[in-house]
C-alpha cells in the first residue's frame, strides 16, 4: 500500500511517500494513524494531534472511521489552506 504525505506532515515524517505493508490489526484510517505514530520520532511529531490530520483514500476525503479495505493510495495531510 502506498502512503503519501503533504505539507508539514511530509516535512515532519521526512519523506513524501512510502510503500508499507500493514499489520493485520490495522483496518481503519484511525488505526493506521495510531500505528504509524509508533514508527519513530518524525511520525510521532507529525501525528501527535491525530484528530487534526486529514486523510484521503484514492483521492477522496475520508473520515477517520473509514475502512482501508481496497485502498491503493492513502494520503495524510494537514487541514487545507488553498483558495
Amino acid at each position: 500500500m502506498k502512503l503519501v504525505y503533504f505539507a508539514w506532515v511530509r516535512e515532519r515524517i521526512g519523506k513524501a511517500e512510502e510503500e508499507i505493508a500493514l499489520p493485520d490489526n490495522v483496518g481503519t484510517v484511525g488505526e493506521l494513524l495510531a500505528w504509524l505514530k509508533g514508527r519513530g520520532d518524525g511520525y510521532e511529531a507529525a501525528l501527535r494531534h491525530a484528530d487534526a490530520i486529514r486523510v484521503a483514500i484514492d483521492h477522496q476525503h475520508v473520515e477517520h472511521r473509514a475502512s482501508l479495505a481496497g485502498a491503493s493510495e492513502i494520503a495524510l495531510f494537514p487541514p487545507m489552506t488553498g483558495g
Binding site: V4, F6, A7, W8, A56, H59, Q60, H61, A75, F77, P78, P79, M80, T81, G82, G83
Partner: protein, 155 residues
C-alpha cells in the same frame, strides 16, 4: 436543466482573468450574469516575498471537479471556470479564479461563493510563506471560519 460547460485547470502558470471571461461570453447571448472571484496573493504588510502552494496532483483535479459538479447540480449555470495555481506566487499575482455564468444573478453569486468556500476547505492545497528577509516562513494555518462558511451550504 442542461449541464454547464465546465473548465477546471490546476496550473503553475499565471492566467489572464480577462480572457477567461471573454472566452465565455464570445458568441453567446443567453448569459445574463457573470460573477468572478479572483484570489490574489497579498504582501501581508510588506513582509511577504512569496506564497508557495503545495498541492496533491491528481486529487486536486478530482476534488475540484467534484465540487464544480455539485455547484452545477445545485444552480442553473451556463458555464463554470475554476483555475487554481500551485508553486511560487508573488504578492499581487493571482492564486485562484472562479467564474460562474448564469441567466440569473443569484445563481451566479451563490455558485461562486459556494465554490470558494469548498475550494478553501476541500481542495488539497497548502500555503507556506516565504519572507522578504530570505527566511522560510510558516505553513499558513487553516481558519475555523472557513469551515463555518462551508457548512452553511449543507441542507
Amino acid at each position: 436543466m442542461t449541464a454547464p460547460e465546465l473548465r477546471v485547470s490546476i496550473q503553475s502558470d499565471d492566467f489572464d482573468t480577462a480572457s477567461e471571461i471573454a472566452v465565455l461570453t464570445q458568441g453567446r447571448a443567453d448569459i445574463g450574469a457573470i460573477v468572478t472571484f479572483s484570489g490574489i496573493c497579498r504582501n501581508e504588510g510588506g513582509r511577504l516575498k512569496a506564497l508557495e502552494l503545495e498541492h496533491y496532483p491528481g486529487m486536486a483535479e478530482t476534488e475540484i471537479s467534484r465540487i464544480a459538479h455539485q455547484a452545477a447540480k445545485r444552480w442553473p449555470l451556463t458555464h463554470l471556470t475554476i483555475i487554481h495555481r500551485y508553486g511560487m506566487i508573488r504578492p499581487g499575482e493571482n492564486i485562484v479564479l472562479v467564474v460562474a455564468a448564469s441567466t440569473h444573478r443569484e445563481a451566479a453569486f451563490d455558485a461562486a461563493a459556494f465554490l470558494m468556500d469548498f475550494l478553501k476547505t476541500r481542495a488539497p492545497f497548502w500555503k507556506r510563506e516565504h519572507l522578504k528577509d530570505g527566511s522560510e516562513g510558516d505553513w499558513v494555518e487553516a481558519h475555523e471560519k472557513d469551515e463555518t462558511s462551508a457548512s452553511r451550504w449543507s441542507d
